[in-house]
Symmetry: C2
Subunit: 666 residues, 2 copies
């Protein structure tokens, strides 16, 4: 446990130094400061509304857990939720303060701006990891060590899942509704450019980047990070494998240490050298993996752990990196050119081409995760599968830093545009923004794969907890569970996409109203009311996430009462497998359409305003809610359903709650 | 067995009378006769090219089967292929002769035209069923009765699967490539209406309706029909359940008899009464189910079969009908209006709305098939699941007659347009065509559900054949199989959609060439070269289906060598479950977009030429290859992979062929 605390303290100290450094940068442009203030306030307003909506749910779950599993689990649940909230709050706070400082730094060149934006991202990355380690360490420590920690760490993980649900689904609806709403009236009807300050929804759009891509992504990966560690702990405890447990603790801590070192190095290089920023990040990815592999290979020396654990862990690491590169290819490589070319014959062919490429892109990631599962299992059994998840996630502090850099750069570009900075500054921020899009796509691929692997690891823990020795898929209870589970990501996505459309429509109406009713708005003599758009997005996003949230919670529990434990197992595995494929499909489709559009905007096939561009814009709009709302939300669905089942189903079994099918079977 | 032969003879006699009656109708309009001749010749040309491509594959498989499983299986395989080919040939022959006669009959009113088109459809419906019964009956009879029929009937089913692969995938690529190709140049570039005789691809488009929706659909359902019966036979023989076997034979025969009676009644009513055609068909669906349920309830009286068999069979019937109505709702009910309204804000919102609705539409069908599986299993074990498949398909003769009516009516409308029939005639054919679209959507839902249930039944037979007692999905070999299997319909769809795009592009180039190089073509003074477009579609469709065909064959076999028997089981179940959901999604998305467009064309939200219409056309174009090529092709993928595994994997096991993972596991 000590290693967790030590690394957490190291990371948090670095976070504080980084944050102080960022805040020390003076913002000279008053307009920019004002705009950034709007974004900052909007994001804070969203968070506080979110907390208010979350609060009664947390209370209810706290009571349910206290009654069913005892007060320790309930407190652990609360701790998991609070640490996740705190990590999200800090990360977003810094991100929304760093955006304008990145714009300021961009006056002095690309290197300076990159280093501010990456520092802000690294605050998120390191805080998430530090709070994961600290939180888990604390609940285990306070409640008397590992002997009886199984249920407690699971509840901690449930708290994290629960916050992730709100942050990712709510944030996802917010960000895309604001984006689509702003574009539909702004670009299409009023014919003003993106990020134009006259558009009343433009601040909401920029808030959305932070709410969705910083807080949402952070909570999602916090959940995966914690979940993968928890799955290892639960399995190690069930197998009374204390050497394995110690291996996991070390692997996680040394992975975080490798990330810390890489973050400092990348930051140093980015501000001083003249390397391409993309190459700096790529080099960082490879370095952090090599370091972590090196460290992990050393662990058997002092823990006496088997080499098979090293193999399982490294299998997860390799697959994590490989999926990043595959995503890179499908969302930025040769296929993008095909989609762009297909745009020449119209929107329909653009969309079909993107669909086909995204469908194809699912195969390799699935195959690789499958292979990693097998390698891990052959080496170290079910515990090995959980280790592969930890392997993929142990360098999260670095990879999340790179992810969270994106929205800061994106916002910096928006502020440069709105505050009328010089073209040179905008060129710098545009370059950083393009890189951010690239890292965002790779980050999504990583988030999905890690969510799938975490769900599988938690699923293994679930089987062990309910005492399922073999989950026979030719048993119709399991089979029906698998079928319904496989359909559930489709239902879930459908609800979420509709929520985006509905919310976007309300924003469209509000923007139209402001254009009509505020005199002098379009000519630039009056200011729009940004706050209304932010609060509309907030309230609708949060209202519309109740149904998907209930679905994720109720589906596995209802399956118990209909189909029994085996049915729940079926639902979980069906949901994870189908959710994994669908999430990759949606993320890559959206990423590919987005970049095909950008390729054309860069001058390919006629550039902006051409027929091909018009078609590509439609593809991009279709892809937006797929890649930024539905796809990422599926990550949460997979993990939340599994962790809820892991905690509650064993209790249902213990209480002997009735199962409908058993009544008929007799 | 005798009951099979008796019903088959009855159906075939009716087919002959029907066909003679249709051919007896005189075609008076010379231009119409000429156009119909083009379509007829084009369809025949496609079929003969298809046979040529198929031939070497059949020979290779024949030899492989002869070597591995003995000459009897090889001959049964050949018989399965030949009977399927014959059924497709006859059905398409009559359909392409009946189209122009439907147009002629439309002069005398809607009732007359309906009765010609439905008679033509019923030729397909009854031929498919009769040849299924006759073929299966013959191979069992000739090779010495049921005692040793297990492997033989499976091989018969493989023959049917194999032809279905070519007919459905090849036909699906053909029909949509021709359709999209014709529209892209005709409607969009040259600005001439659909079905305009000046468009060189217009005949290919009409040929496509027959090739895809008559021959392709027929072969698909022939395969499902045979497959569901074969699964029952294999399971009954494995369990030495001769009473069950006898129950199946009677259920199938009496279902066919019910269909025969309903077909005659519907034909009689359609020509004489003034009922709405849609209501006539709907009444027929309910009547045929009631009759079949009544008959099936009687079977225990003389076979001594258990009532549990009745329950399983009826569960399948009810789900079959229910899925039809669900499809009806999602592709023609209230959701269509939502999609149409979403078109007002452009193509992107139209597409997102259609996606969301189609995603939602997957849940109930999957749930219902799951419930039917459970009810059937609780009543009669694995054999019960196979019986549910037979229940759903035993009234196929009627439902396929309704399906196959659609393309005949569609063609009749095209001919009326091209041959300049009076507006009254076109009004009649338009009405019949609209009904055909409705029945086509329901038919697709039925085809998918029956394919899924057949695949599940064959999967049960596979488990029994390889001696899998429990397929443990928490075993990573199985799990990886499930994951890869679940991704395979995505990969398959991707390949097929790309094939459509590529082929359509070649047609576009050819049509452009003809418009440019043939003087007087656009002004109507010269005739286009229809034949070239047909032969381009044919050759490209057949060339492009080699890769998907190989994928369906190789994936399960390769999984054996990598993951062993359990891995194959995982692949099959992952593929079936994910394929089922994806196929419903794609079929309903396409159907919903299509009908949203038609709704707008009917005057809703501004009608033809409005902004909303423009957006809806894009959605429709995106949906076309999903609903008519990729979706239906997945039906084949599910069944073919399963039946190939059912035949070959037990032999691999017997031969002790090495499995990679076993080498490492030691």
């Amino acid at each position: 446990m000590l290693e967790f605390f030590a690394v957490a303290v190291l990371l948090l100290l670095t976070v504080i130094l980084n944050a102080r450094w960022i805040l020390g940068i003076k913002v000279e442009n008053a307009l920019a400061a004002q705009i950034s203030g709007h974004i900052h306030d909007g994001a804070k307003a969203f968070l506080s509304s979110e907390y208010k909506v979350m609060f009664p749910w947390i209370v209810v779950l706290f009571i349910v857990l206290a009654l069913l599993t005892g007060y320790k689990s309930a407190i652990a649940f609360l701790a998991g939720a609070l640490f996740s909230i705190a990590a999200g709050y800090i990360g977003m706070q810094i991100a929304t303060l760093a955006n304008v400082r990145t714009t300021e730094a961009a006056r002095r060149g690309s290197g300076d701006a990159l280093s501010v934006a990456f520092s802000a991202g690294s605050v998120m990355g390191m805080t998430v990891v530090a709070f994961g380690l600290l939180g888990l360490g604390l609940v285990v420590f306070v409640f008397g060590g590992f002997e009886k920690a199984g249920g407690i760490v699971s509840s901690f993980s449930l708290g994290a899942s629960f916050v992730a649900l709100f942050a990712r689904v709510g944030g996802g609806i917010f960000t895309k509704a604001a984006d689509v709403g702003a574009d539909l009236v702004g670009k299409v009807e009023a014919n003003i450019p993106e990020d134009d300050p006259r558009n009343p929804a433009v601040i909401a759009d920029n808030v959305g980047d932070n709410v969705g891509d910083v807080a949402g992504m952070g909570a999602d990966l916090y959940e995966s990070y914690v979940g993968s560690i928890v799955a290892c702990i639960v399995l190690a405890l069930a197998e009374k494998n204390m050497v394995g447990l110690s291996f996991v603790l070390w692997a996680v801590s040394l992975g975080a240490l490798s990330s810390w070192f890489t973050i400092l190095l990348v930051r140093g290089i980015s501000s001083r050298s003249h390397m391409e920023p993309a190459n700096v990040f790529r080099m960082g990815s490879i370095l952090v993996t090599l370091l972590a592999v090196g460290f992990v290979c050393l662990i058997p020396m002092w823990t006496g752990a088997s080499w098979s654990y090293v193999v399982s862990t490294v299998a997860g690491m390799i697959v994590g990196i490989a999926i990043g590169f595959i995503t890179d290819y499908y969302t930025m490589g040769a296929p993008i050119k095909e989609i762009a070319k297909a745009s020449e014959t119209g929107a329909a062919t653009n969309i079909l081409s993107g669909m086909a490429i995204a469908m194809q892109s699912t195969f390799l990631p699935v195959l690789l995760v499958g292979l990693a599962t097998i390698v891990a299992y052959l080496s170290a059994g079910l515990f090995g599968i959980a280790l592969a998840g930890v392997g993929m996630l142990c360098t999260l502090a670095y990879s999340l830093s790179v992810d969270a850099y994106g929205p800061v750069a994106d916002n910096a570009g928006g502020i440069a545009e709105m505050a009328h900075f010089s073209p040179q500054v905008r060129e710098v921020t545009d370059g950083l923004d393009a890189l951010g899009n690239a890292t965002a796509a790779m980050g999504k691929g990583f988030a999905i794969a890690s969510a799938a692997l975490t769900a599988l690891a938690l699923f293994a823990a679930f089987n062990s907890a309910v005492g399922i020795k073999a989950l026979d898929v030719s048993d119709p209870k399991v089979l029906t569970g698998v079928m319904v589970g496989a359909a559930s990501p489709f239902l879930f996505s459908s609800i979420v996409i509709n929520a985006v459309s509905r919310t976007a429509f309300v924003i469209v109406k509000e923007v139209r109203r402001q254009f009509k009713e505020i005199p002098g708005l379009l000519s630039g003599q009056a200011n729009p009311d940004y706050v209304v758009c932010v609060s509309i997005s907030t309230s609708h996003a949060l209202k519309n996430m109740v149904v998907p949230a209930l679905l994720a919670l109720i589906l596995p529990l209802a399956s118990y009462f209909l189909l029994g434990v085996e049915g729940v197992g079926g639902v979980l595995i069906g949901q994870t497998v189908s959710g994994f494929v669908m999430a990759v499909y949606m993320a890559n489709a959206g990423g590919a359409w987005d970049n095909a559009k950008k390729l054309i905007e860069g001058g390919f096939l006629g550039g902006k305003g051409s027929e091909a561009h018009h078609a590509a814009v439609i593809g991009d709009t279709v892809g937006d809610p797929l890649k930024d709302t539905a796809g990422p939300s599926i990550n949460i669905l997979m993990k939340l359903s599994t962790v809820v089942s892991l905690i509650l189903i064993p209790i249902f079994v213990q209480m002997g709650l009735p199962v409908l099918i058993d009544l008929f079977a007799k």
